[in-house]
């Protein structure tokens, strides 16, 4: 993961609340088995609308998304984060994020910063009156700056540290492999194992057919 300290890029005002991950990337795009190449799928249902913010030339190259409350609700699909990143977004700012989306962002190096709703409104105002305005996001200071508006954002200390150091979670956990092995020794025998497999007798499943 790349280290993140500051980023400056065009801010995109997304004046919608409850932007769920089905809107960020519809399910039909989840069939791919790769981790990249999802930029075309981002906000797919809205991209067909010429009035949609990313279709306006001033915002097309945006990299800092400023969204309404409850961003990233719904499905756990990490594809939502991949699509935002593949499009070019480095930062999403909102007053509230769904937990899973926020977690996924942290794993993928996308900064999900929590900004008070009144400060989101200030940013929207700047970005809408002067389309194409750049926003500088400083992870060290936890501030986002657009023109003369400076707002603070929250991000938990651990995620911030990992993003700034560009650290990989699995590597960090495996430093404690001895602890994991020790824990496994204490696991009660009633706790389930999937192998060897046990199940009811196998039965032929008849295929349903299209009705006439």
């Amino acid at each position: 993961m790349e280290k993140f300290t500051t980023h400056t890029g065009v801010g995109v005002p997304l004046r919608r609340s409850n932007v769920d991950t089905d809107q960020i990337i519809p399910a039909v795009y989840l069939k791919r088995v790769t981790r990249t190449g999802f930029e075309d799928a981002l906000f797919a249902a809205w991209r067909g609308d010429p009035a949609f913010v990313l279709n306006q030339p001033a915002y097309t190259s945006g990299s800092v998304l400023v969204a309404g409350p409850d961003f990233g609700t719904g499905s756990s699909r990490e594809h939502a984060v991949w699509a935002l990143k593949d499009y070019g977004f480095k930062v999403v700012l909102a007053s509230r994020f769904a937990d899973i989306f926020r977690g996924n962002s942290g794993k993928q190096g996308l900064v999900a910063g929590i900004v008070a709703q009144e400060d989101i409104e200030l940013l929207w105002k700047v970005l809408e009156t002067k389309p194409g305005t750049e926003v500088t996001v400083d992870l060290v200071e936890r501030t986002a700056t657009a023109d003369d508006v400076v707002v603070r954002f929250q991000i938990d200390d651990y995620t911030r540290w990992r993003l700034m150091e560009g650290l990989d979670d699995i590597g960090l956990t495996l430093q404690h492999e001895e602890d994991i092995t020790a824990f496994e020794q204490t696991r009660a025998s009633w706790r389930p194992r999937t192998l060897p497999a046990k199940h009811l007798p196998t039965v032929e499943i008849e295929a349903a057919r299209p009705s006439a």
Partner: protein, 493 residues
């Protein structure tokens, strides 16, 4: 020290407590896998030269992408077929148990775990799917994770997690006739909002919850995520033990006794405190439906479409205006007048045998409305077999419904089961987001009973709108499963 159910399960899985703001490291008892959120995780393992640490705590099935027709033929959609093939190849390469299309244990991952007896009280259960909260019905701490976390669990059988806050949701009293566990959870989400549970593990308590069957409890916990919560839990009790006993992977002999003894300790201590408490009266509940485009936009069926001008909060007003426009509704019009094109009965929320039984009892001997189509999709192949053994399939076919093979199906429309633009559904699933069931599709979330009544009348309806004999036992409110329609058939799912 006094603790809540969630805290007890959490503490029992601590591999390492975090220091200086770093998260705790939690051991994961059961990792469920499906085709959509796992390919990139296995690819990550391969690139790093890592193995699956505990294939014996991992199980895969195919559900999101799978067709519900012609399952014996090659999957027509090539990208779907590639994704399924990728899962099969990964399972083979890494030694993971898989239940593929055509196998009697294939089905929606959140039905497969419980029916095999793998889901138990006191476990940590994860899956790359937000509806993993379903397993909390057993008193397990179960939650959805992203693909990076799937890879993390595959490689280490642990997850670094920051502690959750706890919220008690108490539902007092008894449900009135015609109301179900689906109505409980839709009412809860409407009350606390889609973000109300953010950062929390919910614990459902109270008399109305205790009286629910395991299947009905799963419906409640399933939709915890729609309130923004990572997980929802219900303390295990005799209903839980009764459901588990004798299932293929349930503990046996001395293990069973030790397990039950431990499971009985898994309840919130009387002097424990929750960070937040919410109380509902079951007697106030009635059949509940969603009118908008998020699961918090719900109302009793007897209500009218909201009038945005009457909503004080600006964000809510704008969201309501947008939702009403997308849904093609008239502000102020009765919800009961809304005509439906498709009734979908299925999903990890309401595709279980008890759901199918209750629908069959309502539609038995009747014909569906001519104006709509009805899709019945069992949650798993075993549920399908059970339903067929009880003759439910024939009741549905005689009614004019389509009887399909198991899978996620129209809940999210990744397979060919989709709504057309502008088509309107009454769906027993869990999400009414824009385009969720097909681009331009309009979804009303409903209980199986409302789905059944709607299928008969053609407009959103409840049992009260039907001429049902007074003695028909539609739902069970005493913790015992709704009996099979044919009493000679043993219960297997």
């Amino acid at each position: 020290m006094a603790g809540t159910l969630a805290e007890k399960v959490w503490d029992a899985h601590l591999v390492r407590r975090g220091t200086d703001g770093s998260p705790d490291l939690l051991y994961i008892d059961l990792h469920l896998i499906h085709e959509v959120t796992s390919p990139q995780a296995f690819e990550g393992l391969r690139l790093a030269g890592r193995q699956v640490r505990r294939p014996d705590l991992t199980i895969a099935t195919e559900d999101h992408n799978t067709p519900t027709l012609d399952i014996d033929l090659p999957i027509a959609d090539l990208t779907s077929r590639t994704q399924i093939d990728t899962l099969r190849n990964n399972a083979k390469e890494f030694g993971v148990r898989i239940h593929s299309l055509g196998d009697a244990d294939q089905g929606i991952v959140h039905q497969v775990g419980p029916q095999l007896g793998l889901t138990m009280p006191g476990l940590t259960v994860v899956c790359g799917d937000s509806h993993t909260s379903t397993h909390g019905a057993f008193g397990a701490l179960a939650f959805g994770i992203g693909t990076s976390e799937v890879e993390h669990v595959l490689a280490t059988q642990t997850l670094p997690l920051a502690p959750f806050k706890t919220m008690a949701i108490t539902v007092n009293g008894e449900l009135p006739p015609g109301a179900t566990s689906k109505d409980i959870i839709l009412a809860i989400i409407a009350k606390i909002g889609t973000g109300g549970g953010q950062g929390y593990v919910l614990e459902y308590r109270g008399e109305a919850i205790r009286k629910l069957t395991m299947e009905a409890r799963m419906t409640v916990c399933n939709m915890s995520i729609e309130a923004g919560a990572r997980a929802g839990m219900i303390a295990p009790d005799e209903t839980t033990f009764e459901y588990l006993k004798g299932r293929p992977h349930a503990p046996e002999g001395a293990d069973w006794d030790a397990a039950v003894e431990y499971w009985k300790t898994l309840k919130t201590d009387d002097d424990a405190t929750f960070d937040e408490e919410v109380v509902l009266e079951a007697a106030d509940l009635e059949p509940f439906i969603t009118w908008g485009t998020n699961p918090g936009q719900g109302l009793p069926l007897s209500a009218n479409v909201p009038v945005p001008a009457e909503i004080a909060d600006e964000n809510e007003r704008v969201a309501a205006e947008r939702a009403i426009e997308y849904m093609g509704l008239t502000p102020g019009a009765p919800l009961r007048h809304i005509a439906i094109d498709t009734v979908f009965i299925g999903s990890c929320t309401n595709g279980r045998i008890e759901d199918l039984r209750s629908v069959a009892k309502v539609v038995q001997g009747k014909k569906k409305a001519d104006s709509l189509r009805v899709l019945v999709v069992p949650a798993s192949a075993r549920v399908r077999l059970q339903a067929e053994a009880e003759g439910l399939d024939q009741i549905f076919l005689d009614f004019g419904a389509e009887w399909r093979n198991a899978g996620c199906s129209m809940c999210l429309g990744m397979n060919p089961d989709q709504l057309a633009p502008g088509e309107r559904s009454a769906s027993t699933s869990n999400r009414n987001f824009e385009g969720r069931q097909g681009k331009g599709g309009r979804t009303h979330l409903v209980s199986p009973l409302v789905a059944a009544a709607t299928a008969i009348r053609g407009t959103l309806s409840s049992l009260a709108d039907l001429d049902l004999p007074a003695d028909v036992d539609i739902t069970s409110f005493d913790g015992t499963p709704l009996a099979p329609l044919d009493p000679r058939v043993p219960l297997q799912v």
